[in-house]
């Protein structure tokens, strides 16, 4: 027991402890607020998407931060997860009354579908590096969007009906369209809950941290730090990067499934290039490879446009300016040195256990 406690507050793992504390603390605070004072419905509607974006940003951090490859197609994996989740829920609805179980199955299968797509994409993508890889992932995101824009899928008592490009799905009465091309999903039962989002964040933290502090994390980081040296000690670069890529896609798919089931209508165009960039901004601002930073950056940057709603037309202008300022400040060497010095100073002033008696 004592060993476990010491391990939790170990210097090496302190950032992990902080991440968990931030997430659990946030959840408890929101729950308390909801049950006592109550929160505006506007903010309540933001809770689930926030959780989804946090998970998506965390998963992208695994590729961009830990594995060191720039991917611009993350929204594609969310999209695959979202529409897989929506279809699964639509199909299971008549058979499974338990909402949470349907949501759980949808999230798992959404993750699996995205992981499979991620695996297929990673085969050509990981032959490339740097800018080339970024552009190819971007193209894949576009392909996924275009495909989903042209899928018509309906369900009735005879089973599933599918057509591509043109809507040729004719359903007998009582049937339901699951996907209708560019309109996307139009009549989804909203199953997503804040608790599910919270649990999904915990799961992704667990996966990412446990993977990072294992032989896989070591090889992924070694492949990032020095490719030639990693190969010279027998590390398969492509397999290593593939693992990071597929797990990242899986988590993004799960977050997508939760996201998709939070809205009654969802269009494939929602998961476009802009969304990929948005998530990338969260990761870059939070610090590459920094998990707590990613969570906090997502919270602030996602909430900011909503908090600025009062400014109406100037909203996005101010948001962009704030983004520029934050980027400049966080990358300021002088400022960073000063804060580091300040932290060191505070640490030095704190009474130490042994020396306290002499003061």
């Amino acid at each position: 027991m004592e060993k476990t406690i010491r391990k939790i507050f170990d210097k090496k793992h302190i950032s992990r402890t902080i991440s968990y504390l931030v997430v659990i603390g946030g959840f408890v605070a929101v729950q308390l607020l909801m049950n006592t004072v109550g929160i505006k419905s506007l903010f309540r509607s933001l809770l689930v998407p926030t959780c989804c974006y946090i998970v998506a940003a965390l998963s992208l951090n695994l590729v961009v931060g830990v594995s060191g490859e720039l991917s611009l197609g993350h929204a594609g994996f969310m999209s695959v997860g979202a529409f897989t989740g929506i279809i699964i829920c639509g199909v299971l609805e008549p058979y499974l009354a338990l909402n949470w179980l349907r949501l759980l199955i949808a999230i798992i299968l959404g993750g699996v579908a995205a992981a499979i797509v991620g695996l297929l994409i990673s085969i050509p993508v990981l032959k490339l590096q740097g800018d080339y890889l970024a552009i190819v992932t971007l193209a894949f995101c576009q392909i996924i969007k275009s495909l989903l824009n042209n899928i018509y899928l309906g369900i009735d008592s005879n089973g599933l009906h599918f057509s591509f490009i043109e809507n040729r799905v004719s359903l007998i009465p009582g049937g339901k369209m699951l996907l209708s091309g560019p309109m996307g999903a139009t009549a989804t039962t909203r199953l997503a809950t804040f608790t599910a989002g919270f649990l999904l964040i915990l799961l992704s933290l667990l996966i990412i941290y446990n993977l990072t502090y294992s032989r896989y994390g070591r090889t992924i980081m070694a492949a990032r730090d020095n490719r030639i040296a990693a190969e010279s000690v027998g590390i398969h670069i492509r397999n290593t990067k593939m693992l990071a890529f597929v797990i990242s896609a899986c988590l993004a798919g799960m977050s997508g499934a939760l996201f998709g089931l939070n809205y009654s209508t969802l269009q494939p165009a929602k998961f476009d290039f802009n969304l990929s960039i948005l998530i990338l901004v969260y990761v870059v601002l939070g610090g590459l490879g920094n998990i707590t930073g990613t969570i906090i950056a997502t919270l602030i940057l996602y909430a900011l446009p909503e908090l600025l709603r009062g400014l109406q037309d100037y909203r996005m202008l101010i948001y962009s300016i704030i983004l520029i300022v934050i980027m400049l400040i966080t990358n300021n060497r002088k400022l960073k040195d000063k804060t580091d010095a300040l932290i060191a100073d505070i640490k030095a002033r704190l009474p130490k256990k042994g020396s306290a008696a002499h003061d």
Partner: protein, 277 residues
């Protein structure tokens, strides 16, 4: 004094290694870069317990030979056998698994990782658990991690570096970085260790210490070592066989004594005597 015996192919090998499978054989090895031949007709045989030196003036193609042996470059001609196995279809990773490990002329550590993690990365292929064990932290994960931690510490301890285990590799002093690179290479359990200018940037004392270390590695791990080095006192002291490379070709092979007195070698390093006046 060590004695060399000649193989039918013309290559030399130590007498004590003459009847065991050589750890490395190359036949007519060569590579062209856009028509320019950087290494040509390179033939050597290295016995399983030999310390051999690869020397030559700057730009002779020594590091290129190492890059060929480890398949960083694919040879244009010739064959390489590692412990009797043909490596023509192998990648850098496979060659390492077959038993060749190396260090680099310009140090290539995993700078942001700790010293012990650098060693653990190299031990990765001897670990035995899959991603699910890692994610769900099964007993197998803990058992394997504990085992590898112990092994990495033991290896660091041999080189008096276990105190630095948690230090970031990039912040180590120069000499320690060179040592860590050797340790990392040894962690892959090689049969043949390639050292690319291990004494570069070291003072005479450190070089002397390094000499003992290299000999110690051979005796303790019972492996073959090839080293590229410009420090002649080091080469002549510890190498049992030496190959001299100039313009991508071997111009002389033999024991340190043979090489020291070889007029072709002296010419390659100093130029022709009649040009001096």
């Amino acid at each position: 004094m060590t004695k060399l015996v000649q193989y039918p192919s013309g290559a030399y090998v130590l007498e004590r290694d003459a009847y065991s499978t050589p750890v490395l054989e190359t036949y007519h090895l060569g590579i062209d870069f856009g028509g320019l031949s950087a290494v040509n007709n390179f033939n050597i045989i290295v016995g399983p317990t030999e310390i051999s030196g690869l020397i030559g003036p700057n730009g002779a193609g020594k590091t290129t030979v190492f890059n060929l042996l480890t398949k960083v470059y694919q040879p244009s001609k010739g064959t390489i056998l590692v412990n009797g196995h043909d490596t023509s279809k192998m990648s850098t990773v496979d060659v390492n698994k077959a038993g060749v490990a190396r260090t680099f002329q310009n140090i290539r550590l995993f700078d942001k990782m700790s010293v012990i993690d650098n060693v653990k990365v190299a031990m990765n292929n001897s670990m035995n658990y899959n991603p699910l064990h890692a994610i769900f932290r099964t007993p197998k994960y803990y058992k394997e991690e504990k085992r590898i931690h112990q092994k990495a510490l033991e290896l660091l301890d041999i080189f008096n570096m276990s105190d630095l285990a948690e230090t970031t590799a990039g912040s180590l002093p120069y000499g320690a970085q060179r040592r860590l690179e050797i340790i990392r290479a040894l962690a892959t359990k090689p049969l043949l260790l390639l050292l690319d200018e291990p004494a570069a940037g070291m003072n005479p004392n450190e070089t002397k210490e390094l000499m003992e270390t290299i000999r110690g590695i051979r005796d303790k791990f019972n492996i073959a070592i090839i080293l590229i080095e410009h420090d002649m006192s080091l080469v002549m002291n510890i190498c049992e066989g030496i190959a001299v490379l100039n313009y991508g070709r071997i111009i002389a092979k033999g024991t340190p004594k043979d090489i020291q007195n070889n007029p072709v070698v002296i010419e390659a390093y100093l130029g022709k005597p009649d040009q001096e006046d």
